[in-house]
């Protein structure tokens, strides 16, 4: 039975995510279509520009992420989880939301508009989006470094030497992974450069596809980005395939607390609070200010335009998250319980496929008469979500599984519990926080997904991000801000609702269990 479930899940995932991409990419090579001008000066210049911009962003994000992770893990006590939650908020706002917010910010300042509409502006916005991800990657690794590692060094060296010679070298895998992840995610990100009118390789692919309908050249260009991403990925595969960066810990380890004076500690805390204000609060405040500047009429208009898309978006995001959790759960079992290591590698490679290339692949593969029921319905949107984010849910649940002490399961085996009982009575209850986190993160990512869904959404199936993105090019600034604010409110309130439901369910099950 277990093998059948594994086989069916793998087959489905291959059909949804892997086969369409491989089919599209290799068709492009075999037919040699679109490859004529692929190595033109223009393309190579754009590619060089994209690589440079992504490298600078990855460097800055990792640097900021490292600093914040050190401050969080080594100077904050129990409050650190709240601070972390507030700091990672920008990563869950879609990139285009932050693109709008930061351009509004520089408009409001009345200066720096030239900066924000330049490659440096894009780098700035990307850094604000991806520094929280870097912090998450590095702080997870930092929390896993036993406190004794640093404390034993503290007995013979001051804290700054311990940080430089013990802590940072031990963090090297996480630092490299942060760099690679941010690089891969930014080199295929197109909504921010497109909104800020900066031409890069990803916008070029999007333009070739959507404006010139030059599908072949877009795919050929996609090959180049994928090659760059996969090369980097393979250099870091040993860490990334087991990445603990998205884990829900039940017992966070506490590293060494620095022996620093209170004033210096206050400076570090000030940096953390300042970062929350700068990275998370300013974009929201700016959107609120800009949206209300146009009067309540602008907000009304934004709600009127987006209303038909809200239910659609929430519904598909929830259904997509359910499937993502299901796929993630089964793949997590395959990799952690049955040690099928190739699973992680396959998920990682699919995660590295740029969103618009994946969108084009879905179109190319499913746009055939006998697959019309999939292509012309909302199923294609769910497929888009599954292809994009199974890696995330898979890793989250796998990391929860890793934390399950083996004796818990073995004790159940010893008393003769059958496998399904062990699964539902022992394993699932223990990994429930990880499964919930996987659902929540998948739900939020689905709600903001733009790169793939903008290519595949069937007529009549309008989604929030697509609506905002298609309108914002020709809408007044205040309307764009108002729409973006509405999207943000929908994301935050639905997330809050999910948390509320979870706490009610937890309380109910505790009452039922313990009287």
């Amino acid at each position: 039975m277990k093998r059948f479930i594994y086989f069916l899940t793998t087959l489905l995932f291959l059909f949804i995510a892997v086969v369409p991409t491989l089919f599209t990419l290799f068709s492009s090579v075999i037919q040699l279509r679109g490859w004529g001008g692929i190595f033109s000066i223009t393309n190579l210049t754009l590619l060089g520009k994209s690589i440079a911009m992504s490298s600078v962003t990855a460097f800055l994000s990792t640097l900021i992420g490292l600093l914040l992770a050190l401050i969080l893990e080594r100077t904050f006590g129990e409050r650190k989880n709240w601070i972390k939650l507030l700091l990672i908020a920008p990563f869950f706002f879609s990139p285009y939301i932050l693109g709008v917010a930061w351009s509004d910010f520089f408009h409001m300042l009345g200066t720096g508009e030239k900066f924000i509409y330049s490659p440096w502006g894009v780098i700035f916005v990307w850094t604000m989006i991806f520094a929280p991800l870097s912090m998450l990657v590095i702080s997870s690794q930092l929390a896993n470094i036993g406190p004794n590692m640093e404390e034993s060094a503290l007995l013979c060296a001051p804290y700054r030497s311990v940080i430089m010679k013990i802590t940072i070298p031990l963090l090297r895998p996480a630092i490299l992974s942060s760099f690679v992840l941010v690089f891969i995610m930014t080199i295929s990100e197109f909504s921010v450069p497109a909104f800020l009118s900066v031409r890069v390789f990803s916008t070029e692919i999007f333009t070739q596809f959507s404006a010139f309908h030059n599908f072949s050249e877009a795919v050929a260009q996609g090959w180049i980005i994928i090659s760059v991403a996969i090369t980097l990925l393979f250099l870091e595969r040993s860490y990334l395939t087991d990445a603990p960066f998205i884990s829900v810990k039940t017992d966070a380890s506490t590293g060494a607390r620095p022996i620093i004076s209170r004033p210096i500690s206050k400076i570090f805390h000030g940096i953390a609070y300042g970062s929350i204000f700068w990275m998370s609060a300013i974009p929201v405040l700016v959107l609120v200010f800009q949206a209300f500047k146009g009067g309540l009429g602008t907000i009304d208009q934004a709600i009127y335009v987006l209303a038909p898309t809200v239910i659609n978006s929430l519904f598909y995001a929830a259904i997509g998250a359910l499937f993502l959790v299901l796929f993630g759960l089964i793949f997590a079992f395959m990799s952690e319980e049955d040690h099928l290591r190739w699973v992680n590698l396959v998920l990682l490679v699919t995660f590295s496929i740029p969103s618009m290339i994946f969108g084009m692949s879905l179109i190319y593969f499913f746009n055939r008469p006998f697959l019309t029921p999939i292509y012309s319905s909302a199923i294609i949107i769910i497929f888009a979500y599954i292809g994009r984010f199974t890696f995330i849910t898979g890793r989250l649940i796998a990391n929860s599984l890793k934390q399950l002490p083996a004796p818990l399961k073995e004790a159940a085996i010893m008393v003769g519990a059958p496998p399904w009982t062990i699964l539902f009575r022992i394993i699932i209850p223990h990994i429930a926080p990880g499964v919930f986190a996987a659902f929540l993160i998948a739900f939020i990512l689905n709600l903001g997904e733009l790169g793939t869904t903008i290519m595949v959404y069937p007529p009549g199936t309008s989604l929030m991000p697509i609506k905002v993105y298609t309108i914002m090019a020709n809408a007044p600034q205040s309307t764009t801000s108002a729409m973006t604010l509405v999207v943000l409110v929908v994301i935050l309130s639905s997330t809050g609702l999910l948390f509320l439901m979870r706490s009610i369910l937890t309380r109910y099950s505790e009452e039922r269990c313990c009287g």
């Binding site: 004794n148 404390e151 007995l155 013979c156 001051p158 804290y159 070298p169 022996i259």
Partner: protein, 240 residues
């Protein structure tokens, strides 16, 4: 004998739970003093407070007559206390070779003749042949010797050991115990040894302090402890 470390009325809590309740303790150089107690009795916390890795909530700690911690404040940071610390899990740095692990403290202090000092101490512990290896390539006993070498290379006057033998088998434990006993004469150090194993404590120690529930319930030489009238001590030492 000099009084090396002195704890006066030391209290420490984690959250609402008091771990140490008014500990008064004097420890001398040139002796092995063992802090003996059950799990959770507060013995590791005493070591961490002496090392300066934690501050006492109340009370004070002095080393060589100098106040180093008091009332929630660390006045002298750990690296200025001239102490060595052997952790229960040894805490060898996995990204450094054995040589680098031992040399680390000397390097950050910019000392001269680092290679010679490392090789001398490696010779003493019989690990010279492993200097280029990483900790993961060594057996448990060899890792133990590296941890001891790392703790002693800076010539501390006092070395703190937190159940360092707990992960070793009986044969290796006996061997390392002999090494630890020999350190007193070779390096002229004092040792504060934490354990829950009373047999180990009796075999190693010049002086034993029994701690229960954050309080010292008995102290004395091993022979004095055998004569203890305290009910907890009698039960703990299985002398009933």
């Amino acid at each position: 004998m000099d009084s090396a470390v002195r704890l006066d009325e030391v209290w420490k809590s984690y959250g609402n739970e008091a771990v140490l309740r008014g500990i008064d303790l004097e420890i001398e150089y040139g002796k092995i003093t063992t802090i003996l107690g059950t799990s959770g009795s507060g013995k590791t916390t005493i070591l961490r407070i002496i090392a300066g890795l934690e501050a006492p909530d109340r009370g004070s700690v002095s080393i060589d007559g100098k106040l180093v911690s008091c009332e929630g404040r660390i006045l002298v940071p750990p690296h200025r206390r001239s102490l060595g610390f052997i952790f229960q899990d040894l805490a060898l740095w996995p990204h450094m070779t054995v040589y680098k692990n031992i040399a680390f403290g000397l390097e950050v202090r910019h000392e001269k003749g680092i290679r010679q000092k490392v090789e001398e101490i490696a010779d003493f512990f019989g690990i010279r042949g492993h200097l280029k290896k990483y900790p993961g390539e060594l057996s448990g006993g060899q890792q133990q010797l590296v941890a001891l070498a790392r703790g002693l290379v800076l010539n501390p006057r006092l070395i703190l050991m937190d159940e360092p033998l707990s992960s070793l088998d009986v044969m290796k434990k006996a061997k390392i115990r002999q090494v630890i006993k020999g350190l007193i004469h070779k390096f002229s150090v004092g040792i504060i040894y934490v354990t829950h194993d009373h047999k180990e404590a009796f075999e190693l120690s010049d002086h034993i302090v029994v701690i229960n529930n954050g309080k010292i319930v008995e102290r004395g030489t091993p022979s004095q402890l055998r004569e203890s009238k305290d009910e907890f001590v009698k039960e703990f030492l299985s002398l009933n």
